[in-house]
Subunit: 417 residues, 2 copies
Amino acid sequence: MKKIQSAEILCVGTELLLGDIVNTNAAYLSRKLAELGISVYHQSVVGDNPERLKKALFEAAGRCDLIITSGGLGPTYDDLTKETIAEFFGKSLVRNEEVLADITSYFAETGRIMTENNKKQADIPEGALVIKNDYGTAPGVIIEDEEREITAIMLPGPPRELEPMFLYEAMPYLMKRSGSVLVSRNINIFGMGESSVENILRPLMENASNPTIAPYCKEGEVRLRITAKAENSEKAYEMCSEVVEKILSTEVGAAVYGIDTDSIEAELVRRLKESGKTFASAESCTGGLIAKRITDISGSSAVFLGGCVTYANSAKEKLIGVCHDTLEKYGAVSEDVAIQMARGARKALGADIAISTTGIAGPDGGSPEKPVGTVWVGISSEKGDRAVLLRLSPRRERSYIRTLAASNALFLALGEI
Amino acid sequence: MKKIQSAEILCVGTELLLGDIVNTNAAYLSRKLAELGISVYHQSVVGDNPERLKKALFEAAGRCDLIITSGGLGPTYDDLTKETIAEFFGKSLVRNEEVLADITSYFAETGRIMTENNKKQADIPEGALVIKNDYGTAPGVIIEDEEREITAIMLPGPPRELEPMFLYEAMPYLMKRSGSVLVSRNINIFGMGESSVENILRPLMENASNPTIAPYCKEGEVRLRITAKAENSEKAYEMCSEVVEKILSTEVGAAVYGIDTDSIEAELVRRLKESGKTFASAESCTGGLIAKRITDISGSSAVFLGGCVTYANSAKEKLIGVCHDTLEKYGAVSEDVAIQMARGARKALGADIAISTTGIAGPDGGSPEKPVGTVWVGISSEKGDRAVLLRLSPRRERSYIRTLAASNALFLALGEI
């Protein structure tokens, strides 16, 4: 069959049309197809309605080489994606005993009762490939229509089933079809805007076709994803690494906090473990978000001793010994209080490094001298104690200001290791 | 023009096709249209490509009464939604001086420089209605094509612009077109599964057409949304309230933690304020998530004094005086430690009510006696001290276990007020 160059994503589910759930599958599949170098020009959503699904299939088949569907593979009477697509491709459904055994054992393991209608999930279009589902009961299906030169991949709707099935089964299948492998490396950047990153890297990015360089943004962070295609993964990894080195040698390098890491907190936990140092936090405006983000990381208990959420001034005094006079004189949102908080938490918890935050997250509480978005971050370690002033945008919402304050604090902590 | 019965959502943006962003607009608009009683049978996404957009418009126009687009209204050369749709409806674009003045003053206010290409955002199809954008520069547009009996509403792509514009402008417009108003009330339920809720309420739900009763689920919670349509909002509110009363009188009533509230933490903050009581937390396995969720609520500083994230055993001893012997004898994940943590935090912070969590969030750290998902929640208040054991599913991921543990603790705190 010919090389796959374009794909469409067709999500099936009335719950999507009612807006009950957000279509993360379309975004996930699109991102992965972009990595594979396959273009996506359309995403569509239809309900559990065979007529409309058939029309959508017909339209899509005229425009692309690969159709990926999500949803409608379940056991109930309104799950009709497999039946409709099999009919579209002129294939009959055949009970697959191996799949049936998998489904039966899934029910046994999870202690649930298998009803008769669950068996229909083991019906597979003749000649199709099966994608095993380790996280649910509905298997995925790959149909290759050599005459029309179209491939269809059907996946179940729940993201925790769809994502691993695509990543570990459909993606290798698509790579095999293209005769090459893809490897990605990620550069994580904090405190430099997307446009600044792009300005600096434009000469590198403009001519990048293999490896490709794609920027992704989230609050305060830019992630550069470098993806290389080669005949084997060692070669592809090497190609990526060359680009990584080039990028690190530019001005962007100074803002890089990690490579192939998930988040600032993951990098912080990793480096703390490596250096054998312990960590503590004292939070006012971030109200526990820093501790929450660190303890999101499994295994953080090896380095994170604990934190104090000292929201009220009385808590700042009682838990971590901030001076009453300092609070009176400079106010809670001040350099001195931030430093005393970090120092106090470090001492109270016996940690090597401590960080603190005190600021105005809004929407209320701002003043002309200390507008919403004013945040002091305190740092205490064997290197000494200090505080850094952040001036975050007062136009942004409370959650953004809290997230940015926490990210800045975690980023500053990295510098103390 | 005829009554609007069906709509399609057409999102424009290459970043959606690349999977760089998740399409929350389609979900938001679908949910709101469902509330309005307008059916959505298709959602589609195309890139910033006039040809494909025109084809998608043509297909949609043959299937529905209302097309809502998002994206492609910006100032750059590839933002072509307005131009393409105006052409589709045979309308020319006319510079609107009022809109131009709005855009100019937006740039002045935010201290940014207005370039020439920003002026094209003030070009409006002749005869169209303008939707003001208070959060950005691109206005929305409503085109009514009386001949084809189709209405098109164009909105900008960023959700923080699209959502208020739809809610405050497009929704009243659509209600006026239908000659009625919609009012919703929400019942928030914790600790009862969706299927149990539906089983109990089936007789009520099956015959519900006005008001409608729609369940929404999120981790451990069920929200019932009751929506009534009537000639005025007082009447609609009254119709909702009758259903709310009926639901509260069923077995479901006991699991209701709030009505027309956002979350357990919002309800907790509201009731603490009402009763003039203060609150504190001591967290081990939830690692700051409880404090974070409470301080997500603006104004929580009036009732939340602070919290201790006592991740290490040493922190439990130092910060909130948990006995070394108790930790040795029963382990950190135990009834006694949970109670001592809550009592210790309440005392250390001088709060009226304190809650604590200590458990195994996984994926590591489980044992046959204390598997992953074992969590003790401690409560201390003037009513006394106690602890409750949760056995959350060890098959679920760390973040789910932490979220459920925090929700249970917050829910239990409600009972102490």
